[in-house]
């Protein structure tokens, strides 16, 4: 009989927690870009917005709303201190760039006063508009690098306030701690949004969560819906917009490893979701960050269409969204995907494409859409009269590269997307994954060390939302061959990339995961080397190695300890689930009781060991 302590805990891993970067992404992208800093998909963060309308020079505000700026909109009427700093920043900019636009003392006082008006004050003043010339100059400042930076500093301040006032106490609540990462995103988005709309209402929701009144995402959502009696109130519309953004976050977090948006999202997180947008091109570790950040932002501007687009790329399938005029030219925003290639563009026509792993800028008016007789579409880009094909899109979704849904997408038991192996299949300058990527991932049948209990499912079937957390962190289970490969990868990256042992472990872990998830690769590849910032792995070597798998060294090294723990936990959970499936199969063939079979297996020597 095996000693009980030799068996790993037979319980589901503790639901993992979102990182600070992910929570900042919820604030900035889901709440900010998706629900505040845009109107009908158009980015309005860098201009003086006004909730209301202006007719014949008369302003008609909505409620008590005044002028506002930002991705996380700051109402200057409610925050006159921001109106003062805005005018101060404008003056500094104007002195350098447009000395003739500098306001004199009276103008400066008047401008601050005009910008600081609440909706009630604007009405009391008969809807008087502010000086149109000054407003135009202020808008030009807000679109300049200095203005973008000023607005972004305000956004970052507000995002940090949400982290301090909302997410920090939220993280301590049972509801959040026991929620799946997907539900954590949803809860954070709903509560953060409520707080951003009204600190009174948002604080009330947070109090109720802390006191244990709410036990699910639905409870929290309904709580916001019930703050004001009736339907379609402003708290509800705000909640719904933020919840839509949360689904984009989850779709991005849960991307398939070979979805090109997987690396895109991970780079945005690693590069800091609150990065200064004027300095995106200064991140040496992430040279494509300008494309990646803009692409992510575009997805939140098109939050209604984005999940289907992201999931199409998970499958390596196709997706088309983009309105055209009568001549067939695109005239709005759009999202096109085919295989591992995609193009996104915003309502202003600025776009980004990743084709065969290469990023490029795209302008909407350069895109040419050709509808074929079989209803497929060819998308190409017209530059100076020369057309370059971008992609062939079959609306029926035929020829998907990956037949299975992403392994990490099921919210009830899946690990967060950060556990998805970071293997950019089409990294710039690298060969693409071979054609066999179109096949379903092979089912792995290696035995694991012990019986694993299935993740508990609640009475309502909603998954392990309220399960008792298991605090024990598990090491990664590996076969002896994987252990050898792990050591080989450690030595390789330490010697060739000069990595520390800690960082080398991260990369080696990703190497193991890559061999597990990449068709054609086994735990005994013939070739492995570090080239162009990647660990390149080939199963067999002929005259030249045909590479089957890649691990982006920098991306792997930048993972936090929490992300690594998540990743290992998800891998172990998958292994345990496979063991269960195997045991069920074995039990149907073998009359021996399941427990006895498991004990026998343990007694005969477990083939797995701990590595990290």
């Amino acid at each position: 009989m095996t000693e009980p302590e030799t068996q790993p805990a037979a319980q589901a891993p503790r639901p993992t927690a979102l990182t600070d970067a992910e929570l900042h992404a919820v604030s900035y992208f889901a709440i900010g870009v998706g629900s505040e800093g845009s109107i009908a998909g158009r980015d309005v963060s860098n201009r003086l917005s006004f909730a209301g309308n202006t007719t014949n020079g008369v302003m008609s505000p909505v409620g008590n709303s005044g002028f506002s700026i930002g991705t996380l909109q700051t109402d200057l009427g409610q925050h006159p201190e921001v109106a003062r700093t805005l005018v101060g920043a404008y003056q500094d900019w104007a002195r350098t760039n447009h000395p003739e636009w500098v306001l004199d003392a009276n103008q400066q006082t008047r401008t601050v006063a005009d910008l600081s008006r609440t909706g009630d004050t604007i009405r009391a003043q008969g809807g008087r508009e502010m000086d149109a010339t000054v407003k135009s100059h202020l808008d030009q400042f807000l679109r300049s690098d200095e203005g973008i930076r000023y607005v972004h500093d305000n956004d970052a301040t507000q995002a940090n306030k949400l982290m301090r006032d909302v997410y920090t106490p939220l993280r301590e609540t049972d509801l959040y701690r026991n929620a799946t990462p997907d539900d954590q995103v949803r809860i954070a988005a709903i509560v953060g949004k409520a707080y951003n709309q009204s600190e009174v209402w948002g604080g009330r929701i947070l109090d109720r969560i802390e006191s244990g009144q709410y036990r699910s995402v639905a409870d929290v959502s309904n709580g916001v819906g019930g703050l004001i009696r009736g339907d379609q109130d402003y708290m509800q519309t705000g909640r719904d917009a933020a919840a839509q953004g949360a689904e984009v976050v989850n779709a991005l977090r849960n991307t398939h490893a070979q979805n090109p948006l997987n690396a895109t999202w991970n780079n945005v997180l690693a590069g800091n979701p609150l990065v200064d947008p004027t300095r995106l091109d200064q991140d040496a570790a992430r040279p494509n960050l300008p494309h990646e950040y803009a692409t992510v932002k575009d997805l939140f501007l098109q939050k209604g269409e984005a999940p289907a687009f992201i999931q199409a790329l998970d499958r390596g399938s196709t997706s088309m969204h983009g309105r055209t005029d009568r001549q067939g030219a695109f005239n709005d925003d759009g999202l096109y995907a085919a295989g591992n290639n995609f193009v996104v563009w915003d309502r202003n026509g600025a776009g980004h494409a990743q084709i065969d792993g290469q990023w490029r800028d795209v302008q909407r008016d350069q895109l040419v859409r050709t509808q074929n007789t079989d209803r497929t579409v060819d998308l190409s880009v017209n530059e100076n009269g020369r057309q370059t094909p971008l992609m062939h899109v079959d609306p029926h979704g035929a020829n998907a590269l990956r037949a299975e849904a992403p392994a990490t997408v099921a919210p009830a038991t899946a690990a967060p997307a950060t556990v998805a192996p970071v293997v950019p299949a089409t990294e710039a300058g690298q060969p693409q994954i071979r054609g066999d990527a179109t096949q379903p991932l092979p089912e792995r049948t290696q035995p694991v060390v012990a019986l694993a209990a299935a993740a508990p499912v609640l009475e309502n079937g909603s998954g392990p939302m309220l399960q008792t957390p298991a605090k024990q962190q598990k090491d990664m289970d590996m076969t002896p061959a994987e252990r050898d490969l792990f050591a080989r990868a450690m030595t390789l990256v330490q010697n060739k990339a000069g990595m520390t042992e800690q960082d080398a472990k991260k990369v080696a872990t990703d190497v193991i995961i890559t061999t597990r998830t990449t068709p054609g690769l086994s735990e005994k590849p013939e070739y492995m080397d570090v080239k162009n910032g990647h660990v390149m792995i080939a199963e067999k070597v002929g005259k030249e190695p045909i590479f089957n798998g890649y691990v982006n060294v920098e991306q792997s090294r930048n993972q936090s300890p929490e992300q690594m723990q998540d990743k290992v936990a998800a891998q172990n959970m998958n292994q345990e689930r496979q063991l269960q499936e195997r045991q069920v199969r074995d039990a149907s063939k073998d009359p021996k009781p399941m427990m006895q079979a498991a004990e026998d297996r343990l007694s005969n020597g477990a083939p797995f060991s701990r590595s990290i």
């Binding site: 009908a40 158009r42 008590n64 709303s65 009391a124 709309q197 009204s198 379609q232 402003y234």
Partner: protein
């Protein structure tokens, strides 16, 4: 519950009238300043009928743009017309309680908003009268005070019956506006 006509009759008696004046004097001097007073608590049959024309929940919802939404809710109470309100967009807004007073077929409304702290206009302290509503067929038109021009139409609200959709305002010129 005392029928409205009994209350109205009783106010005409000299004793009750003196009492009413005494209460009114007290109210003008101090805490009751926020209350509509005993007259509102005892509506005439006409005013009761007028009150009924406003009673219920009224809503405005914009399906696009800033997704402006607002609601006004009126109910007749022993203290006069009371209710709740909200007004905002998906970015932010305000809500709270209201008090109504009928005058010339218009229901003049005072609001207080839910917020931290104590200040004029923050519940339970009501702001001064800056709005009124009138019935227009099956709709309610909300007027707000607008500088020296007096009152101007602000929103047209629809009766919000439980379980029925409120017609939405789908006119959003800002959606198509150039950047």
């Amino acid at each position: 519950m005392i029928p409205p006509n009994v209350q109205t009759e009783s106010l005409r008696s000299p004793t009750r009238l003196r009492l009413a004046f005494a209460v009114l004097a007290l109210c003008m001097a101090s805490a009751c300043a926020q209350s509509p007073g005993p007259v509102a608590a005892a509506p005439s049959p006409d005013s009761a009928k007028a009150t009924a024309t406003f009673a219920g929940r009224w809503a405005y919802a914009q399906s696009c743009g800033w997704q402006h939404s607002a609601h006004l809710e009126f109910r007749a109470t022993a203290d006069g017309i009371r209710g709740a309100w909200s007004d905002g967009t998906r970015v932010g807004g305000e809500s709270g309680e209201l008090q109504g007073r009928l005058r010339d077929g218009k229901l003049f409304v005072r609001f207080c908003r839910e917020a931290e702290g104590k200040a004029p206009g923050i519940c339970p302290d009501f702001d001064i009268e800056k709005s009124y509503v009138v019935r227009k067929d099956r709709q309610l038109v909300w007027y707000r005070e607008y500088g020296a021009d007096g009152y101007q139409p602000y929103l047209t609200l629809h009766s919000a019956v439980a379980g029925a959709d409120v017609p939405t305002d789908d006119n959003c010129p800002e959606d198509a506006a150039a950047p």
